[in-house]
């Protein structure tokens, strides 16, 4: 079937089986490797992307549902100015570990901070509850999200 959608702010059109996952579309059809393929069952959160600004597991998202939607991946986010905030917060606080899960963690952070720029620890833990980091060390990740929120507020001059 023909799928038309907006991918990282560009209109795209592909032919795809209805039940192909958005994850495979991104990685195979568009060579966007920042969205990671791991468990493929919604357990690990390595494949998180934003669809119409909502955070979703791309491994659980069929092609037929992508039609007419707006998809933002880590590559799309990285092309925006505000990505620098995430990059600074995650690198300065050494929250990247091996790096495999970092793109998805940043997408989850963007999903949270776009709705709530001053989240509590509990809200951050809930927002990241679908992201598994096999290196462990969630404390630094939590601090990086708090730092990113702080930088975002500062940029917008919000206390």
């Amino acid at each position: 079937m023909t799928i038309e959608f907006i991918l990282n702010n560009k209109k795209v059109k592909i032919e795809s089986p209805a039940y192909q996952s958005l994850l495979d579309i991104l990685r195979i059809d568009f060579n966007l490797m920042g969205t990671k393929s791991s468990c493929r069952s919604g357990e690990c959160g390595a494949c998180l992307v934003l669809v119409n600004r909502d955070l979703v597991n791309s491994c659980l998202y069929p092609a037929f549902k992508v039609h007419n939607k707006e998809v933002l991946t880590i590559e799309g986010l990285a092309s925006l100015k505000e990505y620098q905030i995430y990059e600074n917060a995650f690198t300065e606080l050494e929250a990247t570990n091996c790096g495999f899960c970092t793109p998805a963690l940043i997408m989850a952070t963007e999903g949270l901070l776009s709705h709530n720029n001053n989240p509590s620890d509990e809200e951050i833990k809930d927002a990241l509850s679908g992201n598994i980091c096999l290196c462990t060390g969630y404390d630094k990740i939590l601090l990086a999200v708090k730092e990113a929120a702080k930088l975002k507020r500062k940029k917008k001059n919000v206390r």
Binding site: M1, P17, A18, Y19, S21, R40, S41, G42, E43, G45, L48, D54, L55, V56, N57, C59, L60, Y61, P62, F64, K65, A108, G111, L112, D126, A127, S129, G130, N131
Partner: protein, 291 residues
């Protein structure tokens, strides 16, 4: 069968029911969190027809009256969760939060969870607790049935051909205290968990109503009105021996007649301990619980 599915996109419930009538074997697709991994991994065949509920706005509404909360069957868990208390019962909110991360909550629909046939799902136990009703519609008729009758003892759902689950109705109750707990007993699967929920209504420390529901002890949530009735009219706090007797009674009710259906010891033990914690919290917090 073709190697691709024909996607039908009804715009309203009437169109949906017409399509369900015309294509009785079509898959009704809401969130797909259970179905999609099975199809993409090859465990299930690609359906020849898929009816996507995405554009059926009536099934995405959440409304409340004085007596009950009504949730459209395709409403996703995040939409329900973001409404929060007091409209959404505490136990249901906690069950949603404990069961699904935000990215899953954005996909998974409440109707899909009910229809997935996974009776152990933690979200079903609160729905049992509040005597939830389900609206089932087909082109020719509409019926409301209690969720306890919708899921059979063997865990299969009582949805006939051409029928669709359209609304979920949760009656409101005035509860002084609600509690939800969950534990995983198989870390490889989020579905295999033990969940406990309870709610209590008191007047001057006398129990007017008390309900318990357990998810994961059998193929559908466990709730037993006979056991609950044992508590009515009793005064709290419970003495230790009184509490022990009630927990022993619960152990009896949790033991199914069919040996094959017997839950594993760990689940039963968790269920009994959670029940005990619930009463201990009530005993401890009695002065803080209004009523």
């Amino acid at each position: 069968m073709s190697d691709d599915s024909i996607i039908l996109r009804p715009q309203n419930i009437h169109e949906l029911l017409v399509m369900a009538n015309e294509y009785p074997l079509a898959v009704i697709y809401a969130g797909g969190t259970s179905l999609f991994p099975q199809i993409s991994s090859g465990l299930k065949e690609i359906p020849s027809h898929t009816i996507s509920l995405e554009h059926v706005q009536e099934m995405n509404h959440i409304s409340r009256t004085e007596k009950y909360l009504e949730i459209g069957a395709r409403a996703n868990l995040e939409k329900i969760y973001s409404i929060g208390p007091p409209v959404i019962p505490d136990t249901l909110l906690k069950a949603i939060r404990e069961t699904a991360s935000p990215s899953i909550r954005n996909i998974s629909s409440i109707g899909g969870i009910i229809c997935s046939g996974k009776g152990s799902s933690s979200i079903l136990a609160p729905l049992y607790l509040f005597d939830t009703l389900l609206e089932i519609r087909s082109l020719s008729r509409s019926r409301w049935i209690p969720i306890s009758r919708f899921i059979s003892e063997k865990g299969s759902i009582q949805l006939r051909e051409k029928e669709v689950l359209t609304r979920i109705r949760i009656p409101f109750g005035e509860w002084n205290y609600q509690n939800y707990r969950k534990s995983l007993y198989n870390s490889k699967s989020r579905d295999e968990s033990l969940s406990f929920c309870a709610c209590i209504r008191l007047s001057k420390n006398i129990i007017l109503d008390l309900r318990f529901a357990f998810g994961g002890v059998s193929k559908r949530p466990f709730r037993n009105r006979e056991f609950e009735i044992l508590f009515l009219g009793k005064k709290i706090p419970f003495r230790t021996e009184e509490l022990n007797a009630l927990i022993s009674e619960l152990q009896f009710y949790l033991s199914p007649k069919d040996e094959k259906e017997k839950p594993i010891a760990y689940q039963t033990r968790c269920a009994l301990e959670y029940c005990r914690y619930f009463f201990e919290e009530i005993n401890l917090g009695i002065h803080h619980i209004p009523g």
